[in-house]
Amino acid sequence: MGKVIVVTSGKGGVGKTTSTANLGTALALLGKTVVVVDADVGLRNLDIVMGLESRIVYTSMDVIEKQCELGKALVKDRRVDGLTLLAASQKNNKDDIQPEQMKAICDKLKASHDFVLIDSPAGIERGFINASAGADEAIIVTTPDVSAIRDADRIIGLLQHAGIEPINLVLNRFSPQLVGNGSMMDQEDVLDILNIDLIGIVPEDTGVITSTNRGIPLVYEDASPGSQAYMRIARRLTGQRIPIPDLEQKGFLSNIVNWFTRNR
């Protein structure tokens, strides 16, 4: 029996789909059986980010309407063993699916896979409720800016109310340079506000743009900092204990100033 993890954020554009694609691929590269599920009915994108857009025949809507078996709707990713995608319908909208139907799909999938990752739509309405209906755990993706963090806090409250735990944080698009010069909140600031566990920090990486252009998740390229960050998060999801590296780049002077001003 595997587990269902919803990847969500509240705010759009913080990297939910990119994180789902990369963590799903990374877990499969580690030998796990994984289904990534696009829960963004009407605005699907997980297929194109993963480079599987030309191979979608059936969607979760077809499974719910009993047009096809669940197993038949799973698109196999041929680049790695054990990875499949369940696409969202593009011609329906979020109200066409009930939370119980989504939960039934999740329950079936986790019986035969190690990990089921749900790519949630932005927002706190029906799409989010459907996406989290069958979830055992949650990953919150946020960027270190005020609007993303405020929205993340709102989502955390809703997930806690629904009894979903653990809720782990991925801090995305982190810039060591900006943190170093005081223009960006660091992980301690963000954790102090959100008060949940950090599962990883993904540094800003232009490789995300080119890998999305090509439809090849970043984790296939070993050297990229973003790829390494996602691989570490995937290992942590499998239960391995891997410390979170300190990505802050502190200059000599900044270290001295920090020494004098700590605890203030």
Partner: protein
């Protein structure tokens, strides 16, 4: 003393610190479902009571909600000029 060495050497407070302080305030209000109207009302009513005991300017009163660990704290900063002589009134 609120001025840190960082602020003495740097020209402005770091924007990341400003972001954090603003977020903490707004998130506490979000979590408690408290809006500006509530805070304004609380401010006025508290000032009415306080005016019986202190001489102070209403506009100088600063009030905010903060989270400390798992509990919330109402912090009020009330600079006053002097205490009213309550005995004289009786």
């Amino acid at each position: 003393m609120n001025i840190s060495i960082k602020q003495l050497f740097g020209r402005k407070p770091k924007s990341s610190n400003i972001a954090k302080q603003r977020l903490k305030l707004v998130i506490t209000q979000d979590r408690l479902n408290v809006d500006d109207r509530f805070m304004t009302r609380l401010h006025h009513e508290l000032a009415e009571v306080l005016a019986k005991y202190f001489e102070f300017s209403v506009n100088s009163v600063q009030m905010s909600l903060k989270q400390e660990g798992n509990s919330y704290v109402l912090v009020a900063d009330i600079p006053y000029k002097k205490l009213h002589d309550l005995n004289a009134r009786q």
